[in-house]
């Protein structure tokens, strides 16, 4: 009896403890990567004249994130199959767990997906382990790439954003082309025209004005018939995604850097006196004019609040405001205008960007067919159709941004095209490329929350910089 009881207890204890190890089983077997990199590219195997039908009968698997750009792509896939004879099978995941799925899949070393969506920041994480195919040789091979693809038509800053030498701190625009820009977002200020008109306000031209404006709206708007309205919606959750839109844009416009690079060594710079002062001001702006429960705010809450007339302004991706501004999309549609946002002290409109890009799995067994897909998806024909008939806005190609049909479509949104044209040339990735980007920016977001919670900006940012110096430096 005692022995049975003892065994039962031990089993219970062991069972409970083993259940604590779900991550272990997720790791699979064997070290997943491969250090050896071949100098030759599969692109070199493609010879002869260019032919869309070259891979007829092949099936390509794509991993996609749920997004209006994706909806536009899926709606047009039939055209690709008709043009090439290639079938595309795809899985779509919501953004919350899309990158976890992609990361686990790529790190396993399998070729479950031949092509996938990724952001330019992900190149810094997926590039160094050799998970991404260098698309440069494919782009340069006239047998693999049709003349109408027209590389020069891309905004050069977008193409450069997906190009990197895989060396921490090295500037973008050099080395391999690890993804192709497909859809992008620039970070600007969108505002509710009703509240601005009623309170006699004008969009802020400086950061000081923006902070005052945010506070003034929060104070005055509820009394002017805008029940529960606050000043400015910006992201605040404990995530890397909090740093890159409005915060990094304003940070860069103030001439600030995340890291300084000297002799290949990265030194955190988010604790310089200027950066500390800016961060304090940003947290102060959120306290004075930001949303309640800011620390849980993602792009979704920010965008929804602008649409629900809860936020007077939004400093985030232009698309986050656009999807609320289109007719019938939200209570605020028709009452949302766009503005480049505050300039830096020297007049800078340096803007950070997010690029939805398309990449190819380096382990894919169907690289030639995958390249045809990437070429079509980033080509003029599909992107123009997606921009006009769907909501694939912010074109990565100059010809589409200049197309009369596109301008007609977007023209009714006050300030949208002017804002886009004002910031497009100054929009680039303002972060220093390095593989620990997600750790650094997640910790940065946590630090921002602590400062917002009342802790001293200098000590918090010094702690952050010390921690990152070990990890990144």
């Amino acid at each position: 009896m005692d022995t049975h009881l003892h065994d039962r207890r031990r089993f219970l204890a062991l069972g409970a403890a083993l259940a604590a190890t779900p991550l272990l089983s997720a790791c699979g077997a064997g070290f997943g990567g491969d250090d050896s990199k071949s100098d030759g590219s599969a692109a070199d195997d493609v010879t002869g004249s260019f032919d869309w039908k070259r891979e007829k009968g092949t099936t390509v698997k794509a991993l996609l994130n749920k997004h209006p750009y994706t909806d536009a792509l899926i709606a047009d896939l039939k055209s690709f199959t008709e043009k090439t004879g290639i079938k595309v099978e795809y899985d779509v995941f919501p953004e919350d767990n899309y990158f976890d799925k992609l990361t686990v899949d790529l790190s396993s070393g399998r070729a479950s997906y031949d092509v996938f969506m990724l952001g330019a920041y992900m190149v810094w994480q997926y590039g160094p382990p050799g998970w991404l195919e260098d698309l440069g040789p494919w782009m340069r091979n006239a047998s693999a790439t049709g003349a109408e693809w027209d590389q020069a038509d891309f905004f050069p800053n977008l193409l450069q954003a997906d190009q990197w030498s895989l060396k921490a701190g090295a500037p973008l625009g050099q080395g391999g082309q690890y993804a192709l820009p497909w859809g992008w977002e620039t970070n600007v200020v969108a505002y509710n025209t009703d509240v601005f008109t009623k309170l006699g306000l004008k969009p802020a031209e400086t950061f000081d004005e923006l902070r005052e404006l945010a506070g003034a709206i929060k104070q005055k708007a509820p009394g002017a018939g805008f029940d529960g309205m606050y000043g400015i919606a910006v992201r605040g959750s404990r995530s890397w995604a909090t740093i890159h839109p409005g915060f990094m844009t304003m940070y860069a416009r103030n001439g600030l850097k995340d890291f300084t690079v000297s002799g290949g060594k990265l030194t955190p710079a988010m604790n310089t006196p200027e950066a500390v002062a800016f961060t304090e001001d940003w947290a102060g702006m959120v306290k004075q004019g930001g949303p309640p429960s800011w620390t849980s705010y993602t792009w979704y809450q920010c965008s929804s609040d602008l649409g629900a007339k809860k936020a007077g302004m939004l400093f985030d991706a232009d698309t986050a405001a656009y999807f609320q501004a289109v007719e019938g999309a939200s209570p605020a549609s028709g009452k949302i205008a766009f503005h480049p946002g505050p300039k830096g002290p020297d007049g800078s409109l340096a803007t950070n960007m997010w690029i939805w890009s398309l990449g190819m799995n380096a382990k894919s067994k169907k690289k030639s067919a995958s390249w045809l897909f990437l070429q079509w998806a980033t080509g003029k024909e599909h992107l123009l159709k997606s921009a006009i008939t769907h909501n694939h806005i912010d074109p990565v190609r100059k010809s589409i941004a200049d197309a009369a049909d596109y301008k007609d479509k977007m023209g009714h949104l006050p300030g949208f095209i002017d804002t886009f044209e004002t910031v497009v040339d100054q929009t680039k990735i303002q972060f220093t490329p390095q593989a620990q980007f997600f750790d650094a920016t997640t910790s940065w977001a946590a630090a921002l929350q602590e400062i917002y919670g009342g802790q001293g900006a200098k000590s918090v940012l010094d702690g952050l910089a010390g921690d990152l110096a070990d990890k990144v430096g």
Binding site: S293, A446, G453
Partner: protein, 293 residues
């Protein structure tokens, strides 16, 4: 015929053997990985022996996470136990209302904790959430539930309590219904009051059931991930980054696989030790309860 009989015991243990291997193989592999510096940026790792564990134990972040994990587990398990037993005692009186409530009580258990956390996140939202709307008439409509470190931790515990108190209540209720009636009848004949009966009879005999519930809830709370991640993502700051979230961030988000698994192994050791202590205590309680009976 003889060989079939001889083989039967071995055939019977095959499923259990496969299950055990299915658990132990990844566990052993994970343990092995922790001896390397395997990460996305180093796919061909070097053996670093126990360096990952040294780093874990010398990191301030680890001790912060360990403290938050313990606070969460003790807080959630304690509140759930007290509330669960109280609810069970109320439901034990077999009234019509009790029987209806008994059915309703299990509803939170049917909702995935992550869904419950997302629903609660919306309900706790200060400007549009229903909780502040209901509190507004009492002058409490402006509570920022998850904006402060204490608020975020207490809100996470509250969601855990909402989801899992029924589990404790059901276990305690089953225990109450299985208690022998004769000691209670004897106490009634002797004129014992409710409090005396509860303290001297009900509680000692109910303890083994309550402790089983505590073991399950404490173990589970030490491993919490879903509720906190959906509600606060570990924020504000690092205030709700429990060990599982830290392990997830390190292994999956930041792709430092060996280091992330080291966190999980440490958590496994903590859970194992806690389980050993609690299960040993359960034996003692069971023997005491048998004496009362």
């Amino acid at each position: 015929m003889g060989w079939r009989l001889a083989l039967r015991p071995y055939v019977l243990i095959v499923p259990a053997l496969l299950l055990t291997c299915g658990i132990l193989y990844p566990f052993g592999l994970g343990l092995y990985y922790t001896l390397f510096d395997f990460s996305a940026s180093k796919p061909q790792p070097d053996m670093v022996r126990f360096e990952n564990y040294e780093t874990v134990f010398t990191q301030e972040a680890f001790w912060n996470s360990a403290w938050v994990t313990v606070l969460y587990a003790v807080g959630a398990a304690a509140v759930e136990t007290v509330l669960g037993v109280a609810v069970a005692l109320l439901l034990h009186r077999s009234t019509i209302v009790g029987r209806i409530l008994e059915k309703i009580l299990i509803l939170p258990l049917m909702i995935a904790p992550v869904i419950a956390a997302i629903i609660w996140k919306l309900m706790l939202q200060p400007s549009v959430g229903v909780v502040n709307y209901l509190l507004r008439p009492f002058g409490l409509g402006g509570v920022q539930w998850t904006d402060t470190p204490t608020g975020a931790l207490l809100s996470s515990i509250a969601v855990d309590v909402w989801v899992y108190t029924p589990f404790v209540a059901i276990l305690a209720l089953a225990g109450l219904r299985s208690l022998p009636t004769s000691p209670f009848e004897a106490a009634a004949v002797d004129g014992a009051g409710w409090w005396y009966t509860f303290r001297r009879l009900t509680l000692p005999m109910l303890w083994p059931y309550v402790l089983v519930a505590v073991i399950f809830r404490f173990m589970d709370s030490l491993k919490v991930f879903d509720i906190i991640y959906a509600l606060t993502e570990g924020g504000p700051g690092d205030s709700t980054v429990v060990l599982q979230i830290r392990a997830y961030l390190e292994a999956i988000r930041f792709q430092r696989y060996s280091f992330g698994i080291s966190y999980t192994i440490v958590l496994w050791a903590v859970v194992y030790l806690a389980a050993m202590v609690l299960v040993k205590h359960l034996g003692k309680i069971q023997r005491k309860a048998a004496e009362v009976k």
